[in-house]
């Protein structure tokens, strides 16, 4: 008797533990599902720096508006360069899919293009070292303020997120409609709700059958008595002939539901298009000679100064003098503020938090003559290196950094070149006075 009581207690505790755990899981799931939690952004900073600095460089990205009404459209367009110094640890962009980054279906993607080709399917044929245009047409659905990025999903490398801008969707969610007329002329008022009742009917129907089947067995004595019966070798007592009949009836019912349901669905929808799993082929853009070649002689990241300093040799391959206007990596733009053409290149819709405050300091900033090779320094300093979590390239097995450098000639024409090289961390001395528990105030020198 005592042993039996102990077993029941074990069962009780186990069941209560499982119930508590499942309740917590269910509760947390319900909270996640129904309680709107604030979303600041969606993890673009979590991507490894070697991916963000050396794979897809998005540039000239614009957002057609910062605020749209629900059911209105917004266009995100621009270009991306598939970096030549693509890291070995990431798969090459042989198979890609262009999409958007936003917190759930708050905006819906209605059109997408790579180099003018509809990109609703995955795309092949893209090559590193080449530039491609892209366009995303999005439609506002859920009112709120959302961070909207272009995203290139590279098979084997993951989602490579472009710059994000805040877009406000105003109005009511009920304003959003997605009407459609199918190839056979069937008019669908709103794709959001099309077929939902049918899906719910099937789920609910099968749920009822499953519940009845469970209840059929749960009404009996459960674990311990059945275990005792099996211990005594009398399994034959556990399943009755009525159980056999119920099981057979349920089997027949389920199979009939499947067969009749299939027949009715086929009759109602005789023409169906299978889910498309193919891809589009994007033509390779023609070779464009590099306007300026850049050789990195030395690159170091000053950890306390939050500064990437590069010693470079720039060779002007054009027939006009050029100046360095911008260094861009991982969506961060370091603008040479002494060059008006570079400052004017900033589109008003571009996110301000991706523009480095101090800009780019160019050691020798005078125009580089045609054919001239100039040794100079590029100094990109900003807290964004840390805030954007870009400095873990210092602890990678492949400590390299890459980006794009934009040049402007005397006529304001822009040229672009890639820059990449190994980078080492350094700690510059800030020169503050050393204190030995000094009672007086010490004014430290700060870079």
């Amino acid at each position: 008797m005592r042993r039996l009581v102990n077993r029941w207690l074990v069962c009780l505790f186990t069941a209560s533990g499982l119930f508590t755990a499942s309740s917590l899981l269910t509760a947390s799931g319900l909270v996640a599902a129904f309680v709107p939690l604030p979303v600041a952004a969606h993890g673009e900073r979590a991507t490894e720096p070697y991916i963000r600095t050396r794979t897809v460089h998005w540039y000239d990205v614009t957002w057609s508006s910062g605020s749209i009404a629900a059911n209105d459209e917004i266009t995100v367009a621009g270009k991306f360069r598939l970096f030549s110094d693509w890291p070995d640890a990431a798969s090459l962009p042989d198979l890609v899919f262009l999409s958007n980054g936003s917190p759930g279906a708050v905006l819906t993607r209605v059109e997408s293009y790579i180099s003018g080709i509809p990109a609703r399917q995955s795309a092949r044929g893209l090559k590193t070292g080449k530039d491609y245009t892209f366009k995303l047409v999005m439609k506002g659905r859920v009112p709120g303020k959302w961070h909207l990025h272009p995203v290139l999903n590279v098979h084997g490398a993951g989602a490579i997120v472009g710059p994000g801008a805040w877009v406000e969707v105003t109005g009511k969610q009920s304003d959003y409609k997605e009407p459609l007329t199918t190839m056979t002329g069937v008019k669908i008022d709103d794709l959001q709700t099309y077929g939902v009742a049918r899906a719910q009917m099937w789920h609910f129907g099968y749920g009822v059958l499953a519940l009845l089947w469970l209840l059929w067995w749960l009404r009996r004595p459960l674990i311990i008595p059945r275990w005792l019966v099996t211990q005594k070798g009398r399994e034959d007592l556990l399943i009755t002939s009525t159980d056999d009949k119920v099981a057979a009836a349920l089997l027949v019912t389920v199979l009939l539901v499947v067969i009749i349901g299939y027949k009715q669905t086929v009759e109602e929808f005789p023409n169906v298009v299978p889910l498309q799993a193919g891809f589009v082929k994007v033509p390779v853009p023609p070779n464009v000679p590099e306007a300026a070649s850049i050789e990195v002689k030395n690159a170091e990241y000053d950890v306390p100064g939050r500064s990437l300093r590069m010693d470079v040799v720039i060779t002007n391959n054009t027939d006009r003098p050029i100046r360095v206007g911008e260094f861009m990596t991982a969506q961060l733009r370091f603008i040479n503020k002494d060059l008006p053409a570079a400052v004017e290149s900033i589109d008003p819709s571009f996110p301000k938090d991706l523009l480095a405050g101090a800009g780019l300091k160019v050691g020798s900033d005078s125009p580089i003559a045609p054919g001239e090779s100039r040794s100079t320094t590029l100094d990109a300093t900003d807290a964004a290196w840390e805030v954007e979590r870009l400095v873990s390239f210092l602890s990678n097995v492949d400590s390299r950094v890459g980006g794009l450098v934009f040049f402007y000639n005397d006529q304001g024409e822009r040229h672009m070149s890639e820059i990449s090289g190994a980078v080492v961390p350094v700690f510059t001395q800030l020169g503050s006075k050393v204190s030995t528990k000094a009672p007086e105030i010490l004014n430290a020198r700060v870079d």
């Binding site: 807290a383 805030v387 961390p425 001395q429 000094a438 010490l442």
Partner: protein, 170 residues
């Protein structure tokens, strides 16, 4: 930075705090506690861009336990007497505030950051230098593994005993 544990809140804004001891630990980043005395670099980075446009003042003080220092009710001379380093109010366009300081003795310290034209936003971040904290995590893990093995051994022995026909020994 969204789940950054080294985050300072200054009024409505956020900053990231990092400490380095390059000679002792390379470019390893510390958050709240600096492991050893010696030359230390502390960098605070503006997470919110608004902090780049307002003046920021920084003080490193000894943690004397005086609450008036934390609450900002202490007078100037009282604050100065425990101040070890002071960066006057200034706008940091790059968003970074680097500080280099040589901590010669272990102890508890406090960083006081004041931001805004009128110094309306203040943040206090306590940290320790050279105070070792014993980590019991590894011991708990080892004890857990041993207990698990013992439990399994006991359970297995009991289950084997129950499965034997009555009267069988050994």
């Amino acid at each position: 930075m969204d789940s950054d544990v080294c985050k300072l809140r200054i009024g409505p804004f956020n900053m990231h705090f990092a400490g380095y001891q390059p000679k002792a630990n390379g470019n390893t980043e510390f958050c709240e506690d600096i492991p050893a005395t010696g030359n230390t670099i502390i960098v605070m980075d503006a997470i919110d861009s608004e902090l780049r446009n307002i003046p920021i003042e920084v003080r490193l003080i000894e943690d004397t336990g005086d609450k008036s220092l934390d609450e900002g009710t202490a007078d100037g001379s009282q604050l100065n007497s425990v101040t070890m380093l002071h960066l006057p109010s200034k706008i940091y366009e790059t968003g970074s505030i680097p500080i280099e300081f040589n901590f010669t003795h272990a102890g508890k310290y406090v960083g006081l950051v004041t931001a805004g034209d009128k110094g309306q936003y203040t943040s206090r971040f306590p940290f320790s230098v050279g105070i070792e904290k014993t980590s019991y995590g590894i011991y708990v893990l080892v004890a857990g593994v041993i207990l698990l093995g013992l439990g399994f051994y006991k359970y297995a022995g009991r289950a084997r005993g129950m499965s034997r026909p009555q009267g069988e020994q050994g």
